[in-house]
């Protein structure tokens, strides 16, 4: 059942690097991360790769396999032919630290910029009542394991470093949607989604949805509904007027 596979792995650091070829044993039922671990144990003890749960639950092991953003621990070797060369490279959108490990601090910075859950002031703990149907949508978004593969793949930032400042990326636009759809949240993040977090830059290509390992319908269920909410505000003259006035005052 075992065979020797060929892997081409990017090795290097912030100053540069190159692809290195390895021949390594592959066994039945293994995932790419198993093979990388075997490489560490036998040929490349200092090969840097980030991982944690090895069960698709923590979102640590994100990288690009043959150019496609994927979780290393959920990519089975059986999807490749035995003589395929499997190329593993770090996520391209984020700066490399070493080998397959990237600096994902961009995401933590964006997370901080989104106003947090804001419950009604008069609701005591234990008194929260919400119907299952009303929490389903936000629960879908809360399945997110923060692997940042959607952030990695979105073309708005993938090839445009300069856009990072003004674009939160699909994961955090979805976080805004999650809070907006929370049945008890009382804050309003709709204007900020458009003006500060770059919702308008998304042109609904759905690439983010395609790579999400949790199968979250980011574009259809989060981004498009948020765009509709923005549009509704724009065309609602009263809201428009109210906002213009408060903005002038501020």
């Amino acid at each position: 059942m075992s065979y020797t596979g060929t892997f081409r792995i990017w090795r290097g650091d912030a100053d540069g690097g190159a692809l290195a070829d390895f021949r390594v044993e592959v066994n039945e039922g293994e995932v790419v991360l198993d093979v990388l671990h075997r490489l560490q144990a036998t040929q490349a003890p200092d090969l840097a790769v980030r991982w944690n749960c090895k069960a698709g639950k923590c979102g640590s092991c994100s990288a690009e396999i043959n150019g496609k953003p994927r979780l290393l621990c959920m990519t089975r070797m059986s999807v490749f032919e035995r003589d395929d060369v499997v190329t593993v490279t770090p996520m391209r959108t984020f700066p490399v630290i070493r080998d397959l490990v990237t600096d994902v601090s961009f995401n933590y910075a964006k997370a901080r910029e989104i106003p947090s859950f804001t419950p009604p002031a008069d609701l005591a703990p234990g008194e929260y009542r919400m119907a299952q149907v009303d929490v389903n949508r936000s629960q879908e978004f809360r399945k997110c394991i923060e692997c940042y593969l959607c952030q990695d793949t979105c073309h708005v930032v993938r090839d445009h470093e300069e856009n990072k400042e003004s674009f939160a990326g699909p994961r955090f636009l979805m976080r805004i949607a999650e809070l907006e759809m929370h049945p008890l949240d009382v804050a309003d993040r709709v204007p900020a989604a458009q003006e500060e977090h770059g919702l308008g830059r998304c042109n609904i290509t759905k690439c983010c949805t395609d790579v999400c390992p949790e199968g979250i319908k980011i574009t259809d269920n989060a981004l498009i509904p948020m765009k509709e909410r923005v549009a509704d505000r724009r065309y609602d003259p009263l809201v428009w007027l109210g906002r213009t006035i408060s903005r002038r005052r501020g």
Partner: protein, 668 residues
């Protein structure tokens, strides 16, 4: 030595899982400057893996539930070895801690009337586990992560700096705790030394209070549901500075881990599968758990398949299915079935949910299980049974702490979560860990805050200690002092040997000969670990990281083996084939692990003992349970566990020894 990066905080929390985050929230809300240090990225801690739920007697689904029933279930699950004060606080406070999460933004699954839904789990009398599908841990961790962000946003609004009072140091590993010997008779905590995984550079934290929340030890075993983080760091760090561990012989093997393919062996299959109706079957298609109800639980579990099936809908007039016996019982039963030749093709048994409910229902209730089997094993759990077998899952043993404040015997050193001991006795009930993290995480944060506020003088980190800790941390880069380069040990090889040995010799079933053999081999590994040599540089070097973690795994494994050898009985997560029964004389005794003292414990002062200090395990008496708590149990039940002398004070005793005392809150 080059200048080391330094930080100063009031409270240093080591660990960013549920316990650490809850502790940090509490300390920060009390106004203290708080730092969180963790080995992986923020939001990735092991807690994200928890699936089934968080136990709290809210009574949303069955209003007969109460803290008393939860307390009794917890004590029974732990075979009356639990620290009863912890079990009491836990049962009383868990509901408030869960409700509090809703105010942080958590979205649990709902009941029809809009409250938090609760599911069945092994050993819990009523449906008690708050959950979100089968990703409850993720919800808990993300909620608290987001709460921390919210607190940082408050600080930003006030000071212009997100990190003014609460900062997360992610991918930073602590390797040594530092004390100030001049404070108090035995010194007090002064800080910690660690390294950034990213750069390999060292960092020193000065902090009068340290909360350890580092999780478990499962990576010392070959087949485990645990992630790489579970190397027992907190256990070892605490021992090194003089704190005690308790109950280290009790290691929980979860009955249902994946068994195939080999590369995923050990990955957890949530107990929620059984809680929601899944049943265990052997290769004859027989639901074998009916044959394994032990005497102490006789009468509490269904005796026929019909009754067991009716129980899911009507718990008042039926008894629960033995598929939901406490984990130790189920794990041993599976072990026996496999040993006696009634296992599945890959050495497990079958877990069948496919024939029990419609495919859509399975996908809705257990989405991650569906996904996990589909992706990793090519098995469609809505159409065929899963193959499952025991996997090392949780350590009941841990740092001995004061139940109310979380403080260890070392002033300023606190612990909470899986790395703390006592709460779960000899066996943890499913769902009782997530609630433990919340209850005792908060209490440790509070305990640390009060301690710091009450200090007269801040302990100071000693320069010499920092230098010594730095040398020890960087030692794996030095070529071995003795022998040639051929003597250099590879950390990956040593780790694999340790895991195999612990799995085989100190695993689910133990004997005196095997455990003694394990101790001998641990001695060999201890000698070799000093020769570990790693290649490459300090920047994100996994070989070096493992070399350091290995020392902790070794120290903890010695504690487990020494404790397992001493306890000559079988109870919960400790099964001695050569001592198969419960022994009441062991119930009131606790095995305490401490670091060997130079000279006094006749250590030879060898070089390897700096790297991995030796440990000593000794029995001590447990504090007897408070009378009002003891009175919550029927005398007849207690008699199965307690010695006669211990029960002399029980209210049921003098009046009429034959009759059970008045039970509180309904019987199980």
């Amino acid at each position: 030595m080059t200048e080391i990066e330094r930080h100063d905080y009031d409270v240093l929390v080591i660990g960013a899982g549920g316990a650490g985050l809850r502790a940090a929230i509490e300390a920060r809300e009390r106004g203290l400057r708080t730092a969180i240090v963790c080995k992986s990225l923020f939001g990735k801690a092991h807690t994200v893996m928890a699936e089934g739920g968080c136990a709290a007697a809210m009574g949303n689904v069955n209003e007969n539930d109460s803290w008393q029933v939860h307390f009794r279930d917890t004590m029974r699950g732990g075979k009356f070895l639990n620290n009863w004060r912890m079990a009491e606080l836990h049962a009383k406070e868990a509901p408030d801690r869960v409700w509090e999460l809703e105010t942080y933004g958590a979205l649990f699954d709902r009941t029809k009337d809009g409250r938090i839904s609760q599911r069945h789990f092994g050993g819990h009398t009523y449906p008690r586990l708050a959950h979100v599908g089968d990703r409850t841990g993720l919800e808990l961790l993300r909620t608290m992560q987001q709460r921390i962000v919210a607190l940082q946003q408050d600080d930003f609004a006030e000071t212009g700096d997100y990190e003014a009072r609460l900062r997360v140091f992610a991918e930073c590993t602590v390797t040594e705790l530092l004390k100030d010997p001049a404070v108090g008779p035995d010194g007090a905590i002064a800080g910690a030394l660690g390294y950034w995984r990213e750069s390999g550079r060292l960092v020193v934290f000065s902090a009068p209070a340290v909360v350890l929340a580092t999780g478990g030890i499962g990576k010392s075993f070959q087949v485990t549901s645990n992630s790489w983080e579970y190397t027992g760091d907190g256990h070892a760090l605490a021992l090194r500075v003089g704190a005690d561990l308790v109950d280290m012989e009790f290691v929980q093997f979860h009955p249902t881990g994946m068994v195939w393919p080999p590369s995923v062996k050990g990955i957890l299959v949530t107990e929620g599968v059984r809680g929601d109706g899944g049943v265990l079957k052997n290769s004859d298609g027989k639901r074998f758990m009916f044959d394994y109800v032990p005497d102490v639980f006789k009468g509490q579990y269904a005796q026929t398949e019909d009754e067991a099936d009716r129980w899911y809908d009507d718990q008042e007039s039926n008894r629960r299915t033995p598929d939901l016996l406490p984990r130790d019982e189920v794990a041993r039963a599976i072990n026996t079935e496999v040993k006696e030749g009634r296992g599945s093709p890959h050495g497990g048994v079958y877990l069948d949910i496919a024939s029990r409910m419609p495919a859509e229902e399975i996908k809705r209730r257990l989405p991650s299980m569906y996904h996990q089997f589909k992706e990793l094993a090519d098995v469609d759990i809505t159409a065929e049974p899963m193959e499952v077998g025991p996997t090392c899952h949780y350590v009941m043993g841990g740092i001995q702490v004061d139940p109310d404040t979380g403080q260890s015997r070392v002033p300023g050193l606190f612990a909470a979560g899986e790395c703390a001991g006592g709460m779960h006795g000899s066996n943890r009930l499913g769902g009782n860990s997530l609630s433990d993290l919340l209850v005792f995480g908060r209490r440790a944060g509070l305990g640390a805050a009060d301690y710091v506020v009450g200090l007269e003088r801040r302990p100071a980190v000693q320069a010499a200690d920092v230098d010594a800790a730095a040398v020890l941390t960087l030692a794996p880069f030095d070529a071995p002092a003795h022998g040639g380069p051929d003597d250099a040990e590879n950390p990956y090889t040593l780790h694999a040997e340790l895991q195999r040995m612990m799995n085989d010799l100190v695993g689910i079933i133990r004997t005196e000969t095997e455990v003694a053999e394990a101790q001998r081999r641990l001695g060999e590994l201890r000698a070799r670990v000093g020769h570990v040599f790693v290649e490459g540089h300090r920047q994100y070097n996994p070989g070096w990281h493992l070399a350091l973690d290995l020392r902790n795994m070794l120290m903890v494994s010695e504690a487990v083996a020494a404790s397992a050898l001493l306890r000559t009985e079988s109870r919960g997560g400790h099964t001695r084939e050569d001592h198969p029964g419960l022994d009441p004389e062991w119930r009131h005794r606790v095995l305490v692990t401490r670091r060997a003292r130079d000279g006094a414990d006749s250590t030879d002062g060898a070089e390897s003992e700096q790297v991995v200090p030796r440990v000593v395990v000794e029995p001590a008496e447990r504090v007897p349970m408070r009378a009002d708590l003891l009175a919550l149990f029927d005398l007849t039940e207690l008699e199965k566990y307690y010695t006669d002398a211990e029960l002399a004070e029980h209210p049921g005793r003098p009046a009429d020894p034959g009759r059970p005392a008045d039970p509180v809150g309904g019987t199980a």
